[in-house]
């Protein structure tokens, strides 16, 4: 559901939410992204930072420099005037992924649960580009939208205590990539050799809200080669503008 007019909601005395609707939908995602880019291009006094999420942008601001009323007015104007054509086109980022084997120990389970063969699961998982709605949960973790419900699988009953960084998983109707080693309950179907979060890079996250992710199947040999290239800093990301 999209609201007729954006809702402004105070998040305490230093933060303001601007909310466009109450759903997870590409249309809302684009509005969020458009406002974020407009904010970044404008320079609002007292603006500390803006955090895009599925259906809202959280503005952290300094109320001693700008009143909430003035901030609201400015954001409203920006939002009305922002047009997609002003901003760089979103891109599809290819994420090379090896599926199955010890890198994707739950591929068989996901296949069984979906009544498909592992091959079909991979085929479905790699057939669509997933919109990056937002980053959160842990640094560099991207919330992706648009996975086919045909391969939706519930989380593990007992979460694993250690999931390697780069693991590609499914949880319910979501798919995602672990940017760092962490505990977790996602069904692991594969792994990418890409480094999703690097605190010495600017920006530190490989994936950014507004772009899309396309998983591309690779072999174990390619995995090893790309991993080496990533470590040496010679790997070139494959990106194309959204059609």
């Amino acid at each position: 559901m999209t609201y007729d007019r954006p809702r402004f909601l105070a998040g305490g005395d230093k933060a303001l939410f601007i909310e466009f609707g109450n759903a997870i939908a590409p249309k809302l995602g684009r509005r969020v992204q458009r406002l974020l880019l407009a904010i970044q291009n404008t320079g609002i006094p007292g603006l500390v930072e803006a955090v895009p999420t599925y259906r809202s942008v959280l503005i952290h601001y300094d109320p001693l420099q700008i009143s909430p009323k003035e901030l609201r007015d400015r954001l409203e104007t920006l939002e009305q005037r922002a047009e997609d054509s002003q901003f760089p086109k979103p891109r599809v980022v290819e994420v090379p992924t090896v599926y199955g084997s010890e890198y994707g120990p739950d591929l068989e389970f996901v296949a069984k649960h979906s009544g498909l063969t592992p091959e079909e699961v991979v085929q479905i998982h790699t057939s669509t580009a997933y919109l990056i709605y937002m980053l959160g949960f842990i640094p560099g973790f991207a919330y992706l939208g648009g996975m086919s419900s045909r391969i939706a699988t519930p989380r593990l009953d007992t979460p694993r205590s250690r999931i390697p960084s780069g693991s590609v998983g499914i949880a319910g109707n979501q798919t995602g990539i672990y940017p760092a080693e962490s505990p977790g309950g996602w069904q692991l179907i594969g792994r990418t050799p890409l480094k999703l979060f690097d605190l010495h890079k600017e920006p530190p996250a490989l994936l950014q809200a507004g772009n899309s992710v396309l998983f591309v199947r690779i072999t174990l040999q390619e995995f090893t080669r790309i991993k080496e290239e990533v470590e040496q800093g010679t790997y070139e990301m494959k990106e194309t503008p959204v059609a």
Binding site: L9, A10, G11, G12, D13, K14, A15, F17, E19, N22, A23, I24, L36, V48, E49, A50, V51, P52, T53, Y54, R55, S56, V57, L58, H60, P63, L64, P68, M134, L135, G136, F137, I138, P139, G140, F141, Y143, P179, A180, F197, L199, P203, P204, A205, Q208, A209
Partner: protein, 316 residues
Amino acid sequence: MEIFEVIQPGLLTTVQDLGRYGYQQYGVPVSGAMDNYALRVANLLVGNNEGEACLEITLLGLQVRVLGNTVIAITGADLSPMLNNSQLPMWEAVMVSRGDTISFPWPKRGCRSYLAVTGGIDVPKVMGSSSTYVKSCIGGLEGRPLRTGDRLKSGKMQMGTLGRRLPPQYLPEYGNQSELRVLLGPQDDHFTQEGIHTYLHSEYTISTEADRVGYRLQGSPIEHKAGADIISDGIPLGAVQVPGDGLPIILLADRQTTGGYTKIAVVITADIPKLAQAKPGDKVRFLQVTEEDAHRCLREYEQTIYTLKHWIQQGH
């Protein structure tokens, strides 16, 4: 120059400044000092800019050896700080010498103490900040709490700062009961009237699950209208999240950048420092204020620090 060697790291001692801003859109938490007032005052007392990196010492156990003559100030919680075998005065600049030992043997009042040194604690800045976010190994000293044997460096030393004792009217009081002023929202409309009433009229106890991420509270469950889940959105400092069990969680410095539970209210900025000094077992109540009230409190809070800065710079 090398300034401290860690003899005992204590329960949890980390390097913190005012936090890491601009990276929440990549999922990087803000972190920074839990008690922003104590950190800023500690820095001002030793002649630093208010946002330099300090040590945040949690409850007890830190012991360091001084490696070079310098000036320090200890603020925040009273963890019975000692200089060798005598009591170390708090909230004032103190000269320490090579070979001295500074220790924090037991907590008397409050939860987090700040140790500032002239020149600030010198660690490489990561994404613009010296603050440590332990969970993802970001910032501070190699992204982790201090360990025995660590050697810490300070930045450039500025002298002529001795004898600055904070006037008593600026000393915060840390009790076992706090009243926290809050602005309702952003999801107060997800709660029944009864639920809001419960929230604003009950006393909650800080549980043992209380750390830099947030404080889980115990007490009367708060009633939702129709479930606790929302589409994940951003989380401001001090947000009071209420998950399905109805028990509030106040989210603090190391909170995740986004979350999917209803937020009934947000604690005002001026009341975060006293919350940062509260411990498991302490009681809190919530008092609703308006946005204007909250901003007036924030102005007063910032005015206090501004006045203090000028008072110090005039050589008191």
